[in-house]
């Protein structure tokens, strides 16, 4: 605890949870290599008080989740408490009898985990799962009480919903069920372990508001664990920053975001995309009439299966030379489908999708226009080369059994005809990796490094257009910043066009020239980044922007969920300078 710059928290009521000098280590290794204890939590102390929210931020692997779960006396297999104590409601949780521990779990302290889809038992109706939480603490688990809880967490149509199975619920509904389970026995401590990470921004907003309301109403002490600075900023009374198993800074939230003291906190805040914005604005939006068009989509319709509704319908857009077009929208809005169609991975049902060559460009000699409605198997080499993909998940985008070098060499040989050995080294250098990495396997690289390799692989082909599909979603905020910066630099250097897909408006705002907002397979608004972020907006865009939480945010905007609209036929509102908004009606 030496490096901690800790300020005594303001005393507001007796602490319900007291963690003192807690050290947890994880046993690793084997018989042969010898077992080693690796500490994952190092001498952490904190207190929780009723009615207060403590936010715990940190990057993955910082130990924040391990710490949080000790409040329910949970340790991962292989972990053990080396020193210190966790006292909840006066009891040392690791000294409890099995029966008392069960009473603690769900009774005194309850947990809401990250992914409710995985945290709910798939074979059990959700009502039954809520009832169980009551039963196990000797409470009335009658149908009426279950419905009451369901209403409490504002589940729509609770009578119907409690009879469903988890998979029949949306992500937000699942998380509401998980919350209902958690508060069923009126616990005094609520542990939230990344409660909204898997959710869309609008749903996230709603869930956070629910939690906040319940915490106040039930006077619970809340520990909110998140890697998302915006969420923690908006929710917590007090914020602790954790890295490498230690809490390095703890302050009232407002103070911490306004004036971070620890170097690490400062670097975190500096990396958040919102802080990158000023740099992005330097990028002159190129809305020039003369500008060359690289990709033109007209009335594009894509359907995954005959029996399904179109995933993308009536989508038109253009991407100019050296321009970055961002597609934003919730999951299922069709943005990845558009990317797949561009890359020739799904067949286009109707509409036009063209790749246009700049005059005299050597790579498209025969005809200036290439038809991108063809799938990859029937595209010619030059077309294949011109469009390159980058993926969201660095873990799965590289073949784990092939070296970095071979991943980059393949497109080099296939498209560029460059000498692989020299080319690989050069490309690695371009993305900021040492050439020696060529012989490594993806597993030997960090997430950020792998994402850099993904970029190098895309560049190896010498493309005209790169498609970046949620490329930073899985990354910690500081790495995300580095990768975005790299992408921007390379794009400028090599004069590429880019289709950026992201659900994170902060990221979009930091790098995109123009933005298209997708909803249910249709574009509802398209314009320059500046136009879209300043408005006027389609209500859906507005909702998205309002729901986005940025570091420093205080509280949650109540207006977000109240927007209701529906499409008003096929007209567009022209807001000028290429800013188009789909007509809507209040509904």
């Amino acid at each position: 605890m030496t490096a901690t710059e800790q300020v005594a928290p303001p005393v507001t009521g007796e602490p319900i949870v007291r963690v003192e000098d807690l050290t947890i280590s994880y046993r690793t290794g084997s018989y042969r290599t010898g077992r080693r204890d690796v500490p994952v939590v190092k001498g952490v102390s904190l207190v929780l008080r009723p009615g207060r929210v403590l936010g715990l931020v940190g990057e993955s692997g910082s130990g924040k989740s391990t710490l949080a779960r000790t409040l329910l006396a949970q340790l991962r297999p292989g972990s053990r408490v080396v020193g210190g104590s966790v006292v909840v409601d006066g009891n040392d949780v690791f000294a409890l009898t099995p029966a008392a521990r069960r009473e603690l779990r769900g009774g005194t302290a309850a947990l809401v985990a990250q992914n409710a889809g995985q945290a709910l038992t798939p074979s059990m109706r959700v009502g039954r799962q809520i009832a169980e939480a009551l039963e196990s603490h000797g409470l009335d688990a009658g149908a009426e009480r279950v419905l009451e809880l369901a209403r409490h967490v504002r589940l729509p149509d609770p009578e119907q919903l409690v009879r469903r199975y988890p998979h029949q619920l949306s992500g937000g509904q699942q998380q509401r069920v998980a919350i209902a389970m958690a508060i069923a026995a009126r616990p005094r401590v609520l542990v939230l372990d990344e409660p909204t990470t898997a959710l869309d921004v609008i749903t996230q907003h709603a869930i956070l508001r629910l939690i906040k309301g319940l915490a106040d109403e039930l006077d619970m002490a809340v520990l909110l664990v998140s890697h998302d600075l915006g969420v923690v900023s908006a929710m917590s009374d007090e914020t602790a920053v954790m890295t490498d198993g230690r809490i390095v800074e703890q302050q009232p939230a407002r103070d911490l975001f306004a004036a971070p003291r620890h170097e690490y906190t400062r670097s975190l805040l500096a990396a958040s995309p919102a802080r990158l914005r000023p740099a992005a604005v330097v990028n002159e939006p190129v809305a020039d009439e003369q500008q060359e068009i690289v990709v033109r989509a007209e009335n594009l319709v894509v359907r995954h299966h005959r029996s399904l509704a179109p995933a993308v319908s009536d989508v038109s857009f253009t991407i100019g030379a050296q321009e970055t077009l961002a597609l934003v929208g919730e999951s299922g809005s069709g943005k990845s489908t558009i990317a797949a169609a561009l890359a020739g991975l799904v067949p286009v049902e109707s509409g036009r999708l063209d790749l246009t060559s700049p005059d005299g460009a050597s790579d498209l000699r025969t005809s200036p226009t290439r038809d991108l409605t063809r799938t990859a198997t029937s595209r010619d080499t030059q077309t294949l080369r011109a469009v390159q993909l980058m993926f969201q998940n660095a873990d799965t985008s590289l073949n784990p059994r092939r070296s970095i070098g071979s991943a980059i060499a393949r497109p080099l040989k296939r498209f560029a005809g460059r000498h692989p050995r020299a080319g690989v080294g050069q490309l690695l250098a371009e993305v900021g990796l040492p050439p020696a990495f060529a012989s490594r396997l993806p597993a030997q690289l960090s997430g950020g490094q792998r994402q850099r390799v993904g970029i190098a692989r895309a560049l190896a082909a010498g493309p005209r257009l790169i498609i970046a599909d949620e490329i930073t979603t899985a990354l910690d905020v500081r790495v995300q910043a580095e990768v975005l910066e790299l992408l921007r630099t390379l794009k400028d250097e090599q004069q590429l066009s880019c289709l950026l897909i992201s659900h994170d408006l902060a990221v979009v705002r930091s790098v995109a020239d123009r933005v298209a907002v997708l909803n249910a397979g249709r574009i509802v608004e398209i314009g320059t980044a500046e136009q879209v972020f300043t408005g006027p907006n389609h209500p859906y865009t507005r909702q998205l922007i309002d729901a986005t939480l940025e570091p420093g945010a205080e509280g949650l905007d109540e207006a977000v969920e109240q927007v209701a609209w529906r499409d008003a036929g096929d007209g567009w509102i022209d807001a000028g300078d290429g800013h188009h908004i789909r007509r809507w009606e209040q509904g």
Binding site: L72, Q74, P77, R102, E103, L104, R105, G106, G107, A110, L111, A113, N115, Q118, A119, L120, T121, P122, S123, M124, E132, A133, S136, H137, Y165, H167, Q168, A178, M181, A185, H304, H305, S307, L308, A311, S336, T337, A339, A340, A343, L345, V346, P347, L389, D469
Partner: protein
Amino acid sequence: MSAVVAVGRRVLIALLTIVLASLFVFLAVQALPGDVARQLLGQDATPEAVAALRETLGLDRDVWSRYADWLLGAVRGDFGVSLVSGAPVGPDLLTAFGNSLLIAVPAVLVGITVALLLGVVAGVRRGRTADTAISMTALVLMSVPEFMMATVLVLLFAIVFPVLPAVVLRGPEATPVELLPSVVLPAVVLTLAMAAYVVRSMRSSTIDVMSREFVVTAELKGLTPLQVVRRHALPSALLPVLDVVALNVAWLLGGVVVVENVFNYPGMGKLMIESVHNRDLPMIEAIAVVSAAVYVLCNLAADMTALALDPRLRTRRRTRSRRSA
């Protein structure tokens, strides 16, 4: 896709599987050296006599037309007449099948139940004494051929301590009640041979499920370990084991040859060996169809159980045929 279409598709696929299996067996038996005519007439038969019998039995016709004839008959429920006994194939096969069920059903009921139970115990108590004992026993049982098991059991319970019959003396004409004492040892061998695989697969599946987030959530709800295992872990842990169970049950009915021969048990496995020996094509075909049907039914039952255990399967629409990027 509507439920009717889905079920119809399943049934069609099942039928297709059975027909294909019967075709493969038909073609393979064609390739067997020697034929039933020679087998029936013995070694001193004149070539003329053999040729005459071949003609009578229709063996001189081309393979495909014979298969087509057989298939048409089978569709109408007529599986033909045994080339050896001259009697319709159906009743004999039915008796043998029934007898096989007599040893297989107890083996399945007891074996699967006990195996699943032991598998769960081993999985939940991973690394403890109970797990070690169960896993080691399963490993040993998997490593000893079943004829060895059968032999040792016969030696112990029929010869050294003659409490059970060593072999079945009455043939296919025996009634189930007469067979009853003889059922014990074969059923025990089958149970042991099969249970080992189910135990191991249940164990690893339990271990897998016990580490899932929803089991952790159930624990953190304050449920007792028994409640966690029974209500939360078990349904999901059973899912991957279903296929293993289905394959084992199908194996049990089709592959009891060794056991049935050791005990001279008048079941389908023994009938199968005899029919292959006699080149009794109609009987082999009927056996193949019954075995394939059992296989298909077991898989269907596994799917149905999976449907009952996993509500996700009940409502999931047909997965998109093309992968989306």
